[in-house]
Symmetry: C2
Subunit: 343 residues, 2 copies
């Protein structure tokens, strides 16, 4: 199988490595800025057209703003199924509207850049959304689906609108609120000449992603402005309801409902049984996830879910693992023994 990767950064490079190692594919890569990570691809092409000419599958991992033209070029020069890895889907899918194009979005590695961080296991266990339309050719969708499963991902079909609404609700809106909260607290503290008190972690947790990667997030917000705007409007409406509750509502019942909802979302929603989140601090390099997964596997501990979040320095990251509540303490012990701090 021939795979072409257009845009060889963290995601494109990891697709290339995983395609070669896990799917036995021959990978041709093209990157307008050149590919400075030796050994990531089998062959380097000089243009999109050259890269995709013989491809069965084309993965376009270009920046959001360059996606439409790169996808169109890939479709024009090949007979392959073409997909992308952008974090919003509706606008692109409407713009391209082609039977050989299937929008895609892997939930992994969004915060890091650079093919030098690429690794074959980046997508292990990660949800990879696909947004087929009624025009999508079934045999090509099937080819893409099986390829992504071979990479270790869990492909999941979703219509583009739903995808963008979900991402707005669970990712883009928390990022917006983190920014707004720091601006507001900075103003409140500044007005009073006060420093941030060493209060509990709620503010730190809620603002951890404030200001994350401006170049990337500018594009994500913009590309998803319709769904994100709707989520902001919904939030404003809900805040109006909270204003009413503050005057004479049942705040205790409201608080208790939130506890139930979060529990349902994060526990049963993910696994069908009570799970606990374990966070591990790791160096951002190949093999770490595998070491951890092997150690837990040997101890008979099942990893229900896992998410990777590189830190701002790009050299380290956090792995969040979800394991059965009864296994969590043992899992922390095992991971700590490997030398990775966990809690």
């Amino acid at each position: 199988m021939n795979v072409a990767v257009v845009g060889v950064g963290l995601i494109g490079g990891s697709v290339a490595l995983a395609a070669r190692e896990r799917a036995g594919a021959h990978v041709t890569g093209f990157d307008p800025a050149g590919i400075d990570a030796p050994g990531v691809v089998d062959a380097v092409a000089g243009s999109v057209g050259e890269a995709v000419a013989d491809a069965d599958i084309v993965v376009v991992a270009a920046p959001v703003s360059a996606l439409p033209s790169a996808v169109e070029a890939a479709l024009a020069s090949s007979s392959a199924v073409v997909t992308d890895v952008g974090s919003t889907k509706r606008t692109l899918v409407e713009t391209v509207d082609h039977p050989r194009f299937v929008g895609g979005h892997p939930l992994a590695g969004a915060e890091t850049a650079g093919a030098e961080h690429a690794r074959a296991d980046l997508f292990a266990g990660a949800t990879w959304y696909l947004t087929p339309t009624p025009r999508t050719e079934g045999v090509l969708y099937d080819r893409l689906y099986r390829f992504l499963a071979d990479l270790g991902a869990r492909p999941q079909a979703l219509d583009p609108d739903t995808h963008d609404t979900l991402m707005a609700a669970v990712s883009h809106l928390p990022h917006v609120l983190a920014n707004v909260l720091v601006a507001q607290a900075a103003r409140a503290l500044d007005a009073e000449g006060e420093r941030l008190p060493a209060t509990g972690p709620s503010f730190r947790d809620a603002t951890r992603v404030a200001g994350a990667n401006p170049a990337l997030w500018e594009q994500i917000y913009r590309a998803n402005r319709s769904a994100l705007g709707a989520q902001i409007d919904d939030l404003v409406r809900r805040l109006g309801e909270v204003r009413g509750l503050l005057d004479d509502g049942d705040l205790g019942a409201w608080q208790a409902q939130a506890a139930r909802q979060r529990g349902a979302l994060l526990e049963v929603g993910l696994a069908g049984r009570p799970v606990r989140e374990v966070r591990v601090s790791v160096p951002n390099k190949p093999g770490v996830v595998a070491r951890i997964a092997l150690a837990l596997g040997r101890a008979g501990i099942n990893i229900t879910d896992m998410s990777l979040a590189p830190k701002a320095d790009n050299r380290t990251g956090i792995i969040a693992l979800w394991v059965g509540s009864a296994d969590a303490d043992r899992a922390i012990e095992l991971v700590c023994e490997l030398g990775y701090p966990a809690a």
Copy 2:
């Protein structure tokens, strides 16, 4: 020195223990529900009046709704300086308005209950806000200030309005938003028949406190409804600005500003030099903070700040430490060696 503690739960019990161990005080306690933690106080009284009769200092650690009457009773039956530990200040200070009453709020232990978890080091390094008014008697304020410093806390004077605004901005508003975010995500997912995707940790972080301790937070929201309402209004206004930015604003500049603001708030704001947050998972019992502080101290690592956050199960907790950026990796190593997972 005679200290009376009215309401002997986690905070009151910890004040009692610290007063005896660190300030050499004789402590009389009264709790309407009885005191079931033997050894926390020197003497158990049968009423507020009996507890405070000979007191130099009275600490009222009753629930928010019971504060005004308990404080009034303590003032009526003693000549002591009387303080409270409630998490909002304006309403109580206006209601009581007495030269011997000084509102107080220690930033520690808010999430736990029960004298059985009390510990003498609960306030070590914790900010303890005090809200004197122009009517406050200076000699009594000084007596209270020195007592709190003896407990290990860092007392800091603030006017009641400023206190409530700060708490609304950095604590109560993040709690409100956590609740609203889970409700909104639950709705979005439910409408689409989807489960929460295993995306990055932004949603989990932003909603970690959703639904925390309904009985307690109902009272906190209600007591601070004026300042919290103003912060919600300000947030809604800011969200309107974000709506405008989504259409044609400079989202990159906005994102970059948020990064600078968070950095200023959490790093330089706390310490005057770059610090890093280290999180340690610990059992919720005496001596843990001391062990960690000693280990870091022996290694010459200065703890710039520290905050304790018990987990929902009340048996374990998170200690967030702030240390110089250059010392952070070494600090994590040392704490991990003590057997406490850290990252």
